[in-house]
Structure formats: C-alpha cells, structure tokens
C-alpha cells in the first residue's frame, strides 16, 4: 500500500514537473533553406515569441534537394517537426505516409478558410480535412531587362503582350557573335526551371489544348495543343535562335547576369532579382495568344502540423500556424520574400494592385491553374526529356509529346495504385 501511495505521489510530482515545463514549450519548425524565406521566418518567429512568451519556436532548415528526404526520414524515425512547410504537390505523399495530421476544424473552421483564401487553397484538402494553410502564393510572369530592350531599340515601357510580340522582342534583343554563337539570349530556355509549367498550363491551353482531365488523373496534352506548344517553344532555339537550353546553366542566372533580355519566372524570384544593380528590369503578365487567351500557373508552399505534435505542443503548433497564416505575417512575407499573400483581402489591396511589379502576378491569380502533381520531380523530368528529344535528337514535337504523355500517365497511374 505504501508503495502505491509513493507511486501516486511520484506520478503527481512528475505531472507537476511537466506542467512547469509547459510554461516554456518549445516547438520545432522546418522549411527548406532559401535566404529570404529564412529571414522572413526569423522575423515571424520573433514577433510570435513576443506575443507568446511561453512558447519558443526553433527553426531548422535543410537544402531544398534534401528537404523531402529529411522529412520522410524523420517521420520514419518518429522525430518529425511540429510545424513544417511543404509544397502543395507533396501532399499526397505526406498525407498517405502519415507525416501530417489534419487541422482541427475548431481551430481552423473550413468556411473561414474557404472564404478568406484564394480558391487554390483547396489543393490542401483531402477528404473532409485540410492538411495545411499557405502563407503566400506564387504565380508566373515575364521578367524583362529594360537596358537590353533600350539597346535593341524597343520601348522599355511596352513589354510584349502577345506570343508574337514576345518572339519579335526576343529576335530584336538576342545577340550573336561573328560565328553565329548566341552570346546574349532574347529569352531564356530552362525546362528545369519554370518553363515546364509555362508549357504545361499556359502554352498548351493557348494552342487549343487542355493539359489534363479535371481531376488531373488523365494526361490530355497529347491529344491537342501539346505538340503545337512544344513546337513554338523549341522553335525559339531551333528556328529563331533567340534562346538556348543550358545557356549559363540556368535561365535565372543568365537573366541576373544581364545576358538574357527576358525570362519567365515566379514571384519567389523577386527577392533575389531585387539585388540586381547593373540594370533595371520590369515585369509583365505572361503573353496572351493571338485570340487573347491568357493562362498562368499558380502554386504555393503551405505549412502543416506534424503527426507527432500532441498536447501542449499541438496547441502551440496551432497557435503558430494561425499566426504564420495571418494577414500580418503575409505582409511581412510579401515585403521580405516577395510572394503574394494567400488571403484575398491581404493580397488585393489598392497599394498592391498599383504596384508595377506585383500587379502582373496578382492579375494572373484570376486565371491561373494549379497542376496537381503526384510526383513533381518525376513529372518535371518528363517535360525536360520531352524538350531534349526535340532539341538534341531532332525528334518531331508531335512524337515527343506523345512519348511524354505516355510516360507521365504511367507515373500518375503508378501513384494511384
């Protein structure tokens, strides 16, 4: 009997101790390493800790290439983070693998989420549950180098608005040496960058096709639009000779170095392009097709709650997630990283819509599509290979697109199994 009392006393003591620990609960936040994102998150954490002195947040980052591996390995070892960032396209894998826990509908009511955020937030929903909320959303636009435009006799206040004007501007700005080698690109060609999104969701639609069925389980770009879009894209290198895959390794590097007049990239590049001081650059909406069709690709990284968070840690994690998805956090993220707020009210402010750099990205959110990837890296590789077969092996765009459609369908089918 005495022993039992002692045990009870001990248990009470321990629970008191843990209560004491709850006064300073520490939660762990994971994201991939990208300078501006880490800086922005440091600011958010500082603000959050000031408002919640009983919670400390520890930020851990990993290189992008390693990030998914780390998350999955940590889950396998039972030591995952409490709050973690994930690309919307990884959700299938993370959710089925038990990395994430569903957001509690009391802390994050669904009708509020759906009313306040841009509709693409539904890509974080599986069944009846949301598994994460974005701080920022990203879309694509055409960046152009005003200095190179002027040198080529183009008006830097009138960037190209249609695909024909795009080609004309690229032809005017591309530079070649005496031997005909390209020494400065009219437009960058980088399928491994954002060009595969441009081809998939934008060009394919502009050439009369639809890339996928509505549920993104069937590849349809092989039927119509895809081949014409690839023809247009590869002609930039093969016929007009205004761009070259692999020029200066990456499209963004060529643009940054002032060796490319135009490049297609996302909001996430704003932060790093802001440090360019050799030339002025501008942003415009992705060019429309001849009949005026516009399209864009929107995506986002969301923050979710790790499956292992329980008790006070879960409560702290919910508080932190609510803060990083708040309008205040979104403004900080916009100022530091340059990504668009994920809440409509925070994004569509008069100031943002009057901003010459942000406006093209914001307008794009009206007509953007969000590809539902099952294996983002694998599906991107299919697009890279597709372009390479035309550029390097001389395969016809129609054959190459057909081959790509088969390969991508196989990836989607394998994931559904």
């Amino acid at each position: 009997m005495r022993n039992r009392f002692m045990l009870a006393g001990l248990a009470a003591g321990i629970s008191l101790l843990t209560l004491g620990a709850a006064q300073a609960v520490e939660i762990e936040y994971w994201q991939y390493a990208y300078e501006t994102r880490v800086t922005a998150m440091d600011q958010l954490i500082a603000n959050f800790e000031k408002a919640n002195p009983d919670i400390t947040v520890k930020q851990t980052t990993f290189p992008y290439d390693d990030y998914q591996t780390r998350v999955i390995a940590a889950k396998a070892a039972g030591q995952g983070p409490d709050v973690l960032q994930l690309f919307y396209g990884w959700l299938d894998k993370f959710q089925s693998g038990g990395v994430l826990q569903p957001l509690s509908p009391t802390a994050f009511p669904h009708d509020a989420i759906e009313a306040d955020f841009f509709p693409i937030v539904t890509a974080m929903k599986r069944g009846d549950d949301y598994y994460g909320l974005p701080t920022a959303v990203r879309s694509l636009a055409l960046f152009y180098n005003k200095k190179l435009f002027e040198e080529a006799g183009l008006d830097p206040s009138k960037p190209p608005q249609t695909l024909d004007e795009l080609v004309a501007a690229a032809v005017a700005t591309a530079k070649h040496d005496d031997a005909g080698n390209l020494i400065s690109e009219g437009i960058t060609m980088d399928m491994a960058g954002q060009d595969h999104q441009w081809w998939r969701e934008v060009l394919t639609r502009q050439f009369g096709g639809v890339p996928y069925s509505d549920d993104y389980r069937t590849v349809t770009y092989g039927q119509k639009g895809g081949a014409e879009a690839l023809q247009f894209y590869t002609d930039l290198q093969n016929v007009q000779k205004v761009g070259q895959a692999g020029f200066m390794d990456e499209g963004q590097a060529a643009f940054r170095g002032g060796m490319a007049a135009m490049t297609i990239d996302g909001t996430f590049r704003l932060g790093s392009f802001k440090t360019i001081d050799q030339f002025e650059w501008g942003v415009t909406e992705l060019p429309a097709s001849a009949d005026g069709t516009r399209s864009n690709y929107a995506s986002y990284f969301a923050n979710g709650i790790g499956a292992s968070a329980q008790g006070e840690e879960l409560a702290a994690a919910e508080k932190f997630l609510a803060y990083v998805s708040s309008p205040e956090a979104m403004q900080i993220w916009l100022d530091v990283v340059g990504e668009l707020p994920a809440r409509k009210s925070a994004a569509m402010t008069d100031a943002n819509l009057a901003d010459p750099i942000l406006a093209p990205f914001l307008k794009a959110l009206d007509y953007a599509h969000t590809t539902q990837f099952v294996d983002e890296a694998g599906q991107r590789q299919v697009a890279i290979d597709m372009a390479n077969r035309v550029l390097l092996e001389g395969q016809s765009p129609a054959d190459s697109v057909a081959e790509a459609a088969t390969a991508e369908q196989a990836i989607i089918d394998a994931a559904a199994k």
Partner: protein, 310 residues
Amino acid sequence: MAQGAITDGTAPRGRVWDRFSIRTKRVIWAWAFLALPIIFYGWIRFYPTFQAFWISFTDWDILKPAQFVGLENYDKLVHDPQFWKVFRNTFTYLIVGTPISLLVAFLVAYYLDRVRFMHGFIRALYFLPFLTTAAALAWVWRWIYQPVPVGLINGLLSQFGIPQQPFLKSTTQGLPAIMVTAIWAGLGFQVIIFLAGLRAIPSTYYEAARIDGLGEGAILRKITLPLLKPTTVFLVVFSSIGFLRIFDSVYNMTSNDPGGPLGSTKPIVLMIYQTAFSSFDMGYAAAQTVVLFTILLIVSLLQLFVLRNR
C-alpha cells in the same frame, strides 16, 4: 597467473581451458581480440548488405511497412529501358575509362621517372587534383565546359573560329566529357603508384640488359612491364571499382538535370540514388543495388583470375 586461481575452485569451463595447449590458447586470444573489429565490421557492413538483399524483395517506401513482393522488383528492372541505358553508360565508363586512365598514368609515370629537374614539383602537380574534393572539381569543370560567353574551352574554340561544342548539354559528348574529368582526377594517384612500382624494380636488371645490348623498347617489354604486374593488377581492380561506382562527378556536373540530357551520362549509382531518395522506392533501389553488387563481385573476381600469377 590469474587463470590458475580461477580454475582451482570452479567450473568445467576452467578445466577445459587448462587442457588447451599454449598454442591453442594463443590462437583463442588472437581470435578474441580480432572478434571485436569483426563483429563491429559485420554489424555496420554485412548486416546492411544482407538487409539490402531482403529489401529488394519488398515494396518498402519508408513511410509504409514493407510487403514481400517476391521477384517483382527484378522483373521491373529487366523491363526498364532506363536501367539498360544506365547499365550501358556504367560499362562505357568502365571499359573505356580504365584502360585509358592506366595507359596515361603509366606513360606519365614512365617519363616522369626519368625527369630529375623539378621531379617532386611535377609529381605534386599531378597529385593535387586527387587531394581536391570531387564536388569542387566537378563545378570547375562544369564552368570550363560552358558555352560562350562564359565557358573556357568554347571561348578558345570561338577565337579560332571553330564551332562551339555542347559538351555536357549533348547526348553524345556528355559522357566522354565527364569521363575526361574523372580520369584526370584519379590520374595523380595512379601515377604515384606506378612510380613506386617502377622504383621497386632493381636497377641491376636494367644494367644487365643494357650490357647485353637490349634496346629501350625491349627493356620495356621484357623487364619493366612484367615486373610491374602486381602494381598493374592492383590499379586495374582499383580503377574498375572506381568507374563502376562513379557518382559524384556526374551528379555535380549535371545537377540541373541529374544524369545529363535524356540520362545520357547517368551511371547506375545515380539511378539507385534517385530511385531511393527522389522516388523513395526503396525496394526497387535495393534491387538495383544487388545487381551492382553482383557486377562488382564478378568483375573483381574475373580480373583477379585473369591477371593472377601463373
């Protein structure tokens, strides 16, 4: 001795110990000491190896528990065109890379052996790349191979009016371009080993041969090469294994599209890495690993057999 004290009181074990001869006891002690590294080595090396064999028969993807699927992964492997491509690439690295690197290393060592002027300095220059991190070397070469206006080789070519070469961006030039860097990076080590082998041949043989009136070519064929055989065997095996396991230079030189355009430079290890850590298909990756293990084993045994001392 302490053992005497123990055996007196107790246990048949003690008496058994006493019955051993000193020689047997020594052997037992030796094995007792050796057991420690063997157990440790077995635990960190052999256990994972056997585990990999087991995983190759499952569909393990890290997140969900593994299910036994029999030979499904091997069946998939045989019907995967990508696998046969990397298989071909790997053997191209091996079959072209090993002889060329040995030939170049031997020529350098053979002539460097006769150079007295700044011998140490030149030798250090050859050895330097071997000391440098493979990733750093790969990134420097990546820049050297760029098209104009940044690339070094293409810059030179265009000054002489020679057309640009795509190098790493090409499906045909990519693999040779990477092989050159791999050979260059390993050259210093092979040169040093060959030099040591050459120095180990007694000079009296050469003197005798010269007195008998043998020419330089004959000396090379009759004396130098046969006596260098142990060195050559070592380097052939070492360099073959290196080429079969080539990874870091390929990965770092083509990190935008790992394995080069259309997988034209992808070796088997890179495919294993991508299957395991991009697609998280551990079972399939383990099956590929088992195949690589078998190839390494066969190639090594074959070379030891062919080049054995008769």
